[in-house]
């Protein structure tokens, strides 16, 4: 750690570091500690029982499965949107660029209700999917759709600056060296934006796991099938089963932490392998 004598715009290191610690503790660490403590007060057998009920396991599968799927969809389509916004000049580009942030600003309940209206069996889109045998609302598909919606801005906003850095010249250079379009994409563009893409994926995934408001409207909340873990936690709370709720929350915390850590390690490893050290 560098000592205090670093000239900087912000006040001294002691003050800022103190504030950082206080802020993180008050807002992040203390509530988490309370959660762990509450869980720790449970007997081991009861804890195991609560977190392994078929209903709980079904909810994990949906929460994490749908989140992973949604984040993956976002990586593909978020990349395409970012590419379009960065590379092309067209009327209305600024408006579309602004629209990307809408899911951030909208109350999640509103987007949930809106999605349900559109995808319900008699909704605008749902009525055409229904005859094809595709049910979106009140199934896992609906959950994925909702999670895709709220995660999309994260990918787009992470990839945009990285794409801006891929200079046209690089593609031109690769082209004169004989590389075809797909080769250029795979060997030049993708490696350059991969770290940003992973960051976007991580953010979208983390957001999706914690999402509650938009999902409960479209999922139908059928136990074992379309019930997400955050909802199960709320149900436990409403039953005044605080310890059960804490136990489920603890499981989510552990799984999420594990996944984020893995992705971060992957990224760090990739950086060591590919990207220049020190500028």
């Amino acid at each position: 750690m560098k000592p205090l004598r670093q000239p900087s715009v912000l006040p001294g290191f002691g003050l800022t570091f103190g504030f950082t610690t206080l802020f993180l503790s008050g807002v992040v660490l203390l509530p988490l500690a309370a959660l762990v403590l509450m869980t720790a007060s449970m007997p081991w057998s009861e804890f195991l029982h609560v977190i392994t009920t078929p209903r709980a396991i079904g909810s994990y599968r949906l929460s994490f499965g749908a989140s992973l799927l949604a984040a993956s969809i976002n990586v593909v389509f978020g990349f395409i949107i970012a590419w379009t916004l960065v590379r092309y000049e067209f009327p209305g580009r600024k408006i579309i660029d602004a629209l990307i942030d809408m899911p951030f600003a909208l109350p999640t309940a509103v987007s949930g209700i809106a999605l349900t209206t559109v995808f319900a069996a008699n909704g605008w889109i749902g009525r055409y999917l229904e005859p094809l045998g595709i049910k979106v609302a009140y199934t896992w598909i609906g959950v994925t759709v909702a999670l895709t919606l709220i995660g999309m801005p994260f990918v787009v906003r992470s990839v945009q600056p990285a794409l801006l850095e891929v200079q046209r010249d690089l593609e031109d250079a690769a082209e004169t060296l004989g590389a075809g379009r797909f080769y250029v994409f795979r060997r030049i563009i993708l490696p350059t934006v991969l770290p940003a893409l992973l960051t976007g994926f991580t953010l979208a995934f983390a957001r999706a796991v914690g999402e509650y408001g938009s999902v409960i409207f479209i999922s139908g909340n059928i136990p074992m099938r379309t019930e997400i873990t955050p909802l199960l936690i709320v149900i436990r709370l409403e039953e005044f089963d605080y310890r059960g709720a804490a136990a489920l929350g603890f499981v989510m915390l552990v799984i999420s932490f594990g996944m984020l850590l893995t992705i971060n390690l992957l990224q760090a490893w990739g950086r060591r392998r590919h990207v220049a050290t020190g500028h």
């Binding site: 031109d172 250079a173 004169t176 060296l177 004989g178 075809g180 220049a276």
Partner: protein, 585 residues
């Protein structure tokens, strides 16, 4: 020929950025495309590389027509100003990129890589990442990468632009060495004339999308054909002079340069004609008095400024009244104050030291006369107010500033001879005025309607065959200074029998090749049928931003033949070029 460009044109939103460029580049030649930014040189290079399509014309590499071949299959190596190295790959991976694409075996790749790193003096840098190299080293890697697949031609787009002076020179030497060693045909784009001189076998100078001149560096420096090339390749003083039997006469004082004809390489001509003379600052000699000069006397002047720059001394001298008239209104060196630029060696300084304010006699060792037919403009009208207004016409002002020449005024009751091209307004009596001016000996008359702007297209037509050479020369001169395309309009009477048509087509193509060969002018050709004036009027009406260059050799019946084109309601400017038939032979 290694690279052949044939009438290559590229437009952006209708405006030609590369305009009818034709070049032949020989095997193993180092060719430099030189021009200011925005001259179209980089676009032309990208077109050769296949990164930009062309709207017109053909490109071939080693006899293979590649106009529609994508960049991947052109087999060229391209080096960019900002290196464009792949930052996530090591030096080795960067250099081997083209070989990997071609699925070359790993051992062969390694071999080639070693060879290339030795060539650019970067042995042992294989595993570095681009960010760990200096700018000069990165550009060396870029050169090695561009050569990996043994391309047929090497293209360099301002490769030294991002480097500081010392590294620049070092890398310049490396590139010249590599080019010689491999004997690879190379095209380099730059805006730096010093760089061009240091590297080029031949230089092509571009401006406004046109290739103005091609030649060896020394050739272009000592004998430029255009004002632009004269001033872009180093400092030059442009002066207006009268060409007489004895040599050149500057100003009204009758100062004569080259009485024995040895100083100036003057084109032969019978009449006393206005010409543009180029005098390099280092060709000027100073002395305390006229008789102390070793070379021909030019004029007297007063030293305004002396600056010491190490090896050379830079002086700026104001010509004394009378001789000052010789100077173009905007001095060629771009400072626009009409001072004569002089550089002198240490030796000359010791022989005759000068201080600001001192009067000196100015002598010239060597004068080059530009073979341009348009020397200056004279706005001609009934009253001074009208003449002044005419001289401020936006198109005329634009032309004069681009040609770095002067617009003077002249009223009907003055008796001084009109110099250069005359300019009159499009008015009811225009025809009579033109007839009078041409009889006075003026050879070019520009008829300007109100509100005409810079042209996009220059239409060329000569009504009498005797005026053909002069018309082409004037068109070439004009087209070097405006970003427009040249179109020769050939017109045949409707009654022409079918058997006659192939003959006319041939005449049309002859005109095109004459323009190309004699004036370096690329122009398109059109063949129309009908009455000459009617067809020209119809062609001019198609779009407003055109100008017509009309060559004639007979004065009689001018009004009857072309009056319709010269009326006040005509929207397009017309430049009449007159050469009497008997004088031409």
């Amino acid at each position: 020929m290694s690279i052949t460009l044939d009438q290559v044109t590229k437009r952006y939103q209708g405006v030609p950025v590369v305009n009818d460029v034709s070049i032949d580049i020989g095997d193993g030649e180092f060719f430099v495309l030189l021009g200011p930014s925005g001259s179209g040189k980089s676009t032309l290079l990208r077109a050769v590389a296949g990164l930009t399509g062309v709207d017109h014309g053909r490109i071939s590499l080693h006899g293979r027509d590649v106009t529609h071949v994508p960049a991947q299959k052109r087999d060229v190596g391209l080096v960019f100003q900002n290196y464009a190295l792949f930052r996530h790959m090591t030096v080795a991976d960067n250099i081997e990129f083209a070989l990997r694409v071609r699925r070359v075996r790993a051992s062969a790749r390694r071999e080639r890589r070693r060879e290339l790193l030795r060539l650019v003096a970067l042995e042992g840098m294989d595993e570095r990442l681009p960010a760990q190299l200096s700018g000069g080293q990165q550009q060396r890697v870029a050169v090695a990468r561009a050569l990996a697949h043994k391309p047929e031609v090497l293209l360099l787009d301002e490769p030294f632009g991002a480097l500081d002076a010392k590294i620049r020179e070092e890398l310049r030497r490396t590139i010249r060495q590599v080019q010689r060693e491999l004997g690879i045909t190379t095209v380099l784009v730059t805006h730096d004339q010093e760089e061009a001189f240091a590297l080029a076998d031949r230089i092509g100078v571009m401006n406004l999308g046109r290739l103005l001149e091609i030649g060896r560096p020394d050739e272009l420096y000592t004998r430029p054909a255009t004002r632009f090339v004269a001033t872009f390749l180093g400092a030059a003083n442009l002066l207006l002079a009268r060409q007489t039997k004895n040599g050149l006469r500057f100003g009204t004082l009758g100062a004569e340069g080259g009485a024995d004809g040895s100083v100036a390489d003057v084109p032969q001509g019978a009449r006393e004609q206005e010409v543009v003379a180029v005098i390099r600052p280092e060709e000027i000699e100073l002395a305390p008095a006229r008789r102390a000069l070793v070379c021909s006397y030019l004029a007297a002047g007063v030293v305004e400024e002396v600056a010491f720059t190490g090896a050379l001394e830079r002086l700026r001298i104001r010509l004394s009244a009378g001789a000052a008239e010789a100077e173009l209104s905007r001095a060629a060196n771009g400072n626009g104050d009409g001072l004569l630029e002089v550089t002198r060696s240490q030796h000359e300084q010791r022989a005759f030291g000068v201080t600001p304010g001192q009067s000196v006699a100015i002598g010239v060792r060597r004068i080059h006369v530009l073979p341009t037919p348009l020397s200056s403009f004279t706005a001609y009208a009934a009253t001074l107010a009208q003449a002044t207004e005419l001289s401020l016409h936006p198109l005329l002002a634009e032309l004069a500033s681009r040609m770095r020449t002067r617009v003077s005024t002249r009223t009907a009751d003055e008796h001084a001879a009109i110099t250069g091209a005359a300019v009159i307004a499009a008015e009811p009596e225009a025809v009579a005025k033109i007839e009078w001016l041409l009889k006075e000996g003026v050879e070019e008359v520009l008829v300007l309607p109100q509100g005409a702007g810079p042209p996009q297209r220059v239409l060329i037509h000569w009504a009498d065959d005797a005026a053909r050479g002069a018309t082409l020369a004037v068109a070439a001169s004009l087209l070097r200074h405006v970003a427009a395309e040249g179109v020769y309009v050939g017109i045949l009477p409707t009654s022409t029998p079918d058997g006659q048509r192939p003959h006319s087509m041939r005449a049309l193509l002859d005109a095109r090749s004459e323009a190309q060969a004699v004036h370096g002018l690329e122009m398109r050709t059109e063949l129309r049928f009908g009455d000459v004036a009617e067809e020209l009027a119809r062609r001019l009406a198609e779009s407003p931003d055109q100008i017509l260059i009309l060559g004639i050799s007979q004065l009689t019946g001018l009004g009857a033949r072309f009056g319709a084109l010269l009326r006040p309601e005509a929207r397009s400017p017309v430049l009449i070029v007159h050469r009497a038939a008997d004088l031409r032979t």
